[in-house]
Assembly symmetry: C2
Homo-oligomer: 225 residues x 2
């Protein structure tokens, strides 16, 4: 099938560039993380609520992926982190070539950095298939989305190094079966580190920052490479 | 570019089949609707909460699109509507070929039907690009996702015949700028009919059912064909 051949070739190119990015991150001592999740699950809010602690611990740059607008980069900048927008012009995910281009276009010097945060397009499907050279894949889900998401979107969850359940301040208000949620995560991504947080109240974010610190100290890379 | 040529050819094939489906729907007098939105926005819940009214008004069949599991078809069946699952095996959207195959495999007789409801994969990006022969495109957003989604995901919203804001029971609890949300919808999809509903309380669903009734009476098709 011609279509499949072309697709394979494109994916191979993306994987090559992702590998080159990883080498550049490693050579510069930069920890790169890729945050993925549904639209509105709280990816940008996590960066806003932890911006001061991140800025205090790490020399950090954020790349914000979106179809349109630079709203998220503005929000993260306003919170005190240096952020650059990548507009995918309609594409449903970030890919390694976009990351390579954003680093070049924005003259980002990896040598001076500790942490590169990549916030992917809000999408619980497609970003899972595109490696960006990251050391850690962080998958965020949120209480209002319902407890069944790890079962229904397993390809997103199964390569996660860390699964964050956000909006736990709504647990008493919404009908959400937390045990079932983590049970599905256990089935799909048994080795993923788990966090429960509220970006609204800040609850649980310290534990996540502590884990990030550990990853920075020992950036051996995702166990899924 | 070879990649683009192949992609164009595939999309053309999908459009052809979508056109054939539309002809079949029209010949049988079936109204076909395509419900799209983020994971957990409430697409299945809308069918559950309106199942009795739908079943009372229309001879209805539901096709449920998901990456994995037949949870949604089971939920909709349990609510009293005849539903069939389409597992996309990881694909991020439904396409016309999948609909054609599901109709055939499940021996669905269009001649006896009034309404075909297609619930797409939870994804605010990719399903927008794949016509399924539907008469109405229904885009659902929900309060916890945040008010900026029509601005950030314009390609999903701009072809909507109807935009539903769900989970309005959370308006008093969450920080959601409703005026800004509808302002963005106005910019992107000025002609789309607008509904505010809560699938939890049932509020607002009667108005949506009334609109659906009108579409059934006059199924001239989407103004976006």
């Amino acid at each position: 099938m011609r279509q499949i051949e072309v697709k394979k070739k494109v994916l191979k190119r993306h994987e090559e560039v992702a590998g080159q990015l990883r080498q550049r991150f490693d050579a510069a001592g930069v920890l790169a993380i890729n945050i993925m999740g549904s639209p509105g699950c709280g990816k940008t809010a996590l960066l806003e609520v932890t911006a001061k602690q991140l800025a205090g611990r790490f020399r950090t740059i954020v790349l914000e992926g979106d179809l349109q607008t630079d709203n998220d980069a503005k929000r993260v900048n306003a919170a005190g982190l240096e952020a650059y927008q990548i507009n995918t012009d309609g594409a449903c995910h970030l890919d390694a070539l976009m990351i390579e281009k954003a680093l070049k276009d924005n003259k980002i010097e990896l040598a001076g950095l500790d942490l590169l945060v990549i916030e992917n397009v809000g999408n619980l499907v497609c970003p899972a298939g595109f490696p960006l050279g990251e050391h850690c894949r962080i998958v965020m889900s949120s209480v209002p989305e319902g407890f069944d998401k790890p079962a229904k979107y397993p390809r997103m969850f199964y390569k996660a190094d860390c699964v964050i359940l956000n909006k736990i301040d709504l647990l008493g208000i919404l009908d959400f079966d937390k045990e079932a949620f983590w049970g599905f995560v256990e089935q799909v991504a048994p080795r993923a580190k788990r966090f429960e947080i509220s970006c609204k109240t800040g609850e649980g974010t310290d534990a996540w920052l502590g884990w990030l610190n550990q990853q920075k100290t020992n950036p051996k890379g995702s166990k899924h490479e």
